[in-house]
Symmetry: C2
Subunit: 713 residues, 2 copies
């Protein structure tokens, strides 16, 4: 990779991005595209569509940037929920830390690199190395600049991470108080109900809770095996996946939205099927019937107080911890019904198999990554395949600067949907935790397959034949000496994948084109545009991967920082705009993405410090090498402290708050409103059947309650 190639690539990308952004500002003004770009506002019945004059409509404008900038945290919270806010916090954290790093590294570290004398040859390859730490001579005093930058960046990161973790934990707790009437506060999900011969699961549940939670147990609702419907759903999903994967190479942000489309499409299919299938009727009429065949060993149990529900979910019921497994219930919209019927005993087998599947998939994925690396190192390819030599110089520059990242991007597009599939197979009971699990898998995959593997293949390709690895120490030296060499590749990667993906995200070309086909070809007035939830499982890993790149390279090759800052600034505007206008929030994880981001940041910090320690060691700067190693230990301690202090808040609710809310409701009589509504909030078979089981429960509650009132008087 040489400087002209990088500049060509940067030029291309800037043109593309500016073009797309302008195009977007025009397209969003067309009434035709309302459904595509303002899905979220339409859903909230407050469409933001001014009557532009025809002339105005065709002129690009920066209005959307201003609006995204002006929106307050509360606006984001209202549209994107706590998860949306947390995602914006991730971006803001990155902007802050890399601004600090940029100031330090570009004004202090970069000059030291440039005026170093280590690289003597002046060939094209070495041009880029001039900007990296490679150019600093061993034992040079200039390395103190790198060391200083390392410490300042690390300490700033600690402070920012601590503050953000604290604020997210606080937000999460406030969440409970902010929405006091959420059904999930009063409900637990019970799995692994023991099988008693001659007794329906339903009876077992009411016996157990009626006996041990006498005072607080309200009612329960069984989960039913949906039989044909479930099978059809599975088929539809499979078919959809097949269709989707064949249409993938169309572009960047198709991945994310496709991931969500799966859900939507399948839901649509189910509803359609339900409407024509009389099957579920049979057990709707008599949900408590003796025959346990159609019930699953899972149920939602409702309590009279939030505290009782919390207590039930935190305790072990019987001598076998695989029976009566109780968790907080997900929100009604969040329940992933298909997985509720999976027997709890099989879950760990599923998890193990999925884990193995993920490993196999990751190994298989090395193939395209190696191919990409081959394209980057065009010189080597020319040696092996002579026909490459016929390419002219310009083409070669384009190929070596732009194509490899694009190929990688296309391959990476299929990862999130596959990870989402894996997460489904794992047996998660809620949509939000499914997405979170897919997100974690994607992060590990990206970190490993994009970052580390590219480092190592680059290393291996460059050095193959030049020297043989003869020990662990040699290995470390090799890694340390060649990491800076991969900087140009990652710069290109940030431009192509990062910038372009933002443009794609903003444009939503896939939905846009379908909408046009609907309106202009099929001549349907209403147009096309579905309501998507935000694709956290593709966007969070991407943002964190760029964070890893930034941390690793900030002191080695500071030239990467401007590219990165541009990405994060754009991301800030684009994602705020999308959260405000496009995506809806049907479920959220209550900020559980932050601990993931925190862990990724800690991992990035440790990588940065380890690489710095190795490189300082190689440059005969032992003091700094040791002190950088000390920094690793300090990072680990900091992480430990944060986990101790904040993580428990992500798995628990505070007793004080719950009890006080319960008391408040009790005193104000509000509880009488909440409880009947609670009983009709979870329904498995859509809203199509008037008399779904919870209606019966609600009726039951009224009887029970009047009897109770009678007792009181």
């Amino acid at each position: 990779m040489i400087l002209p190639a990088l500049l060509t690539s940067a030029g291309f990308n800037i043109v593309i991005c500016v073009g797309f952004f302008s195009l977007y500002s025009i397209l969003r003004k067309q009434p035709v595209n309302l459904k595509v770009y303002f899905g979220q506002r339409l859903a909230q019945l407050k469409p933001e569509q001014k009557n532009y004059y025809f002339g105005q409509r065709l002129v690009p404008s920066a209005g959307w940037l201003v609006k995204a900038w002006e929106a307050s945290d509360d606006d984001i919270y209202r549209c994107g929920g706590i998860d949306g806010l947390v995602f914006i916090k991730m971006i803001v954290f990155s902007i802050r830390i890399f601004s600090v790093a940029s100031v330090l590294c570009i004004f202090i570290v970069l000059p030291v690199n440039l005026f170093g004398q280590a690289i003597q040859e002046r060939d094209a390859e070495a041009q880029m190395d001039m900007f990296t730490i490679r150019n600093v001579q061993a034992g040079s005093k200039g390395l103190w600049a790198h060391f200083f930058a390392l410490y300042v960046v690390s300490i700033s990161a600690y402070i920012l991470l601590y503050v953000e973790f604290k604020s997210v934990a606080r937000l999460r707790l406030e969440q409970v108080i902010r929405f006091p009437t959420k059904p999930s506060h009063f409900t637990v999900l019970v799995r692994g109900i023991p099988w008693c011969p001659g007794e329906a699961y339903s009876e077992t549940v009411s016996k157990h809770f009626g006996s041990y939670y006498e005072s607080s147990y309200l009612a329960h609702q069984m989960v039913y095996r949906s039989g044909t419907i479930q099978r059809l759903m599975m088929d539809a999903e499979k078919m959809y996946n097949v269709l989707k994967e064949t249409t993938i190479p169309e572009g960047e942000s198709e991945g994310p939205s496709a991931g969500v489309v799966v859900e939507e499409a399948v839901e649509g299919a189910t509803n359609a099927i339900q409407a024509i299938t009389p099957e579920p009727e049979t057990h709707h009429k008599n949900p408590h019937k003796k025959d346990g065949k159609e019930e699953c060993a899972a149920a939602f149990v409702f309590f009279r107080t939030r505290y009782a529900a919390m207590v039930a979910s935190k305790t072990i019921q019987s001598y076998d911890p695989m029976l009566w497994v109780i968790d907080f219930a997900p929100e009604p919209h969040d329940v992933y019904w298909a997985n509720l019927c999976v027997p709890y005993r099989l879950l760990w087998i599923r998890k193990t198999l999925v884990f193995m599947g993920t490993v196999v998939f990751s190994v298989w994925f090395l193939l395209p990554t190696t191919l990409v690396q081959g394209l980057v190192n065009l010189d080597q390819l020319e040696d092996h395949f002579p026909f490459f030599r016929n390419l002219s110089e310009t083409y070669a520059n384009i190929v070596s600067g732009y194509l490899p990242s694009l190929v990688l991007t296309c391959f990476v597009l299929i990862v999130p949907p596959i990870m989402l599939m894996f997460a489904t197979l794992e047996g998660t009971v809620s949509r939000s935790s499914r997405k979170k699990s897919a997100c974690c898998k994607c992060i590990i995959f990206f970190f490993w397959n994009i970052f580390f593997y590219n480092l190592f293949t680059g290393t291996w390709w460059d050095r193959m034949g030049k020297l043989t690895v003869t020990g662990l120490k040699d290995m470390a030296t090799l890694v340390g000496s060649l990491i800076p060499g991969q900087a140009p590749f990652f710069m290109t990667y940030i431009m192509t994948t990062g910038w372009a993906s933002l443009a794609y995200e903003l444009m939503q070309p896939f939905v846009l084109i379908i909408n046009w086909i609907y309106q202009f070809v099929l001549l349907r007035k209403e147009g096309y545009g579905d309501l998507y939830t935000f694709p956290y499982h593709t966007e969070v890993p991407r943002a964190l991967l760029f964070g890893l790149l930034g941390f690793t390279y900030c002191i080695l090759s500071p030239l990467i920082l401007p590219f990165l800052l541009v990405y994060y600034f754009f991301a800030y505007f684009v994602y705020r705009n999308q959260l405000l206008n496009v995506y809806i929030t049907r479920y959220n994880t209550n900020g559980s993405y932050w601990p993931i981001a925190h862990n990724a940041a800690i991992f990035s910090l440790i990588t940065m410090q380890a690489v710095a320690s190795i490189i300082f060691g190689m440059k005969d700067f032992v003091t700094a090498s040791t002190l950088a190693f000390v920094l690793i230990i300090f990072t680990a301690l900091f992480n430990l402290y944060c986990r101790h202090k904040f993580l428990p808040l992500f798995n628990n609710k505070a007793v004080q708050d719950l009890i006080e809310m319960d008391r408040h409701d009790e005193h104000s009589g509000k509880i009488e409103e909440i409880l009947p509504r609670l009983l009709s909030s979870y329904y498995q078979f859509g809203g199509l059947h008037g008399n779904h089981p919870t209606d019966l429960l609600a009726a039951e509650y009224k009887t029970f309650n009047s009897a109770d009132a009678g007792r009181k008087t």
Copy 2:
């Protein structure tokens, strides 16, 4: 190490062991030694002392073996508690699995090794290698025998581990039902009580629990900073440690008992000091006084039901998880008062520092271990230090066969007390968890410093100069090829450390001699003999270390198995005898040692399978190598399953049981007996002060209760 040296060593040890065992059978019949050998029976007021005739008294007999054999599990349980039973279960598990391994390996694997033709030289060094897998030629069909043994041993281990884990978990649950009136069932330990200005901690506690646990909160008892007493205790402990460490090289089982003596001695000291110190009186008169200075931010809180206590200990109270930290309370005898005052916020720092201390200590410890390895390889030493050449052949055999293990043993003796000190510094709140923590540290230390380090130094010493390591694969090959070579060293180790330690444990020479000095020199009639608790932190790691050796070597060098089986058979008799007669049980962990043993066994299995996989690979037996690797994955899955199924039972109590016990007590009126007793069960300052704070509480309870009764009528 050559065959004659091994035999010399075995001869020595057999003579020593038989001698000691006979001596013990004589000594235990002397009325003079009653306090030394029957401490536990004396404590239970049922001394087992027949009137032997003078002649009988001097004849060795096997009566104690018979009695140890005849004792039932219930007897062990009554004397040693659940932990004693679990420890015997570990020994029985080892006997079972190594019996299976012996039959397979000695009758199938050993002949294959012996008739292999791989070793051509017939020098002394090679004599021992004839019995190991080294003698099997690459690609030989005989390796199927090793492979078969590997699978059978692994599968037997899975079955036995599963059965034992299940039975221990069941035992633990039954424990709750067996002792329904234990104060710890109703009590929680609260730490991190928030500091409210102008309010004593005691008020804060009663406000909090009175408000949120209105119906079930009974009373609480603050923990007081013991000031001078605490400081004096610390000093006494330090002094005692210094004294103890100087007297260490006396022998083997001094370590364990010394570890316990610390506690006893210090307790004695404290009592003595308390008797003369008027200081604690000040706050005994008014425990609830406003001034919060002398209170710690910790308290015991008593509840009316077991269920309420359990619920409180499982929930998070406030938005800051470092405040109001609630755990199950330890039993009154089990509380380690000195650590209760440690602020909860500092605990993680202490844990981290202790962790670092442990690492530093382990590194420092490599010094004596290297020295020991130097002695084993006498030939090399002779090259470096010419004066060794003057030793005659016999002496050389003794030195190379016996001395190294003895030196190692002596050095290892100081490890458990130091680990116990580390565990104390960690801030554990109960004596049992302190011992458990020390036990875990010792296991890791032993596994690493004795097993792995001896392997590697042996390897390194042997091969230094012969070949240079040139890569990871080479490294694996080197390890794989040299592990069998260390078998003779570990055989000696089993004989010296294992057998001799049992004889020492049985004889208790240290206490015996002090007793004699008391009776015959100081002429005190009552003699000397203190009540010790069983030193799990030295005996559990030793038993597990031998298990690791057994698993690793059973198919490589089956000759180790007879030595090991002898050890475990002796151990079975000796430990049963000691549990029945010598040690008392003041506190126990409710079987928490089993998960530790389970993990160690899993680790040993994986080591065995990994080594086998490497060695099969080296012998060009690729099928078996792959299948052995598959076995590693299977072991990991098995472990995962067991952890899922049984481990939750070790951190929780079952709600069903607790609620049913509560109801039973409520109905039978027994609760009125239990609660007042409960309030007077935890007392911080010994039994010396008549009016300790809980007496006041008990009085308070009576008032409260009569008021309550008044309300009811």
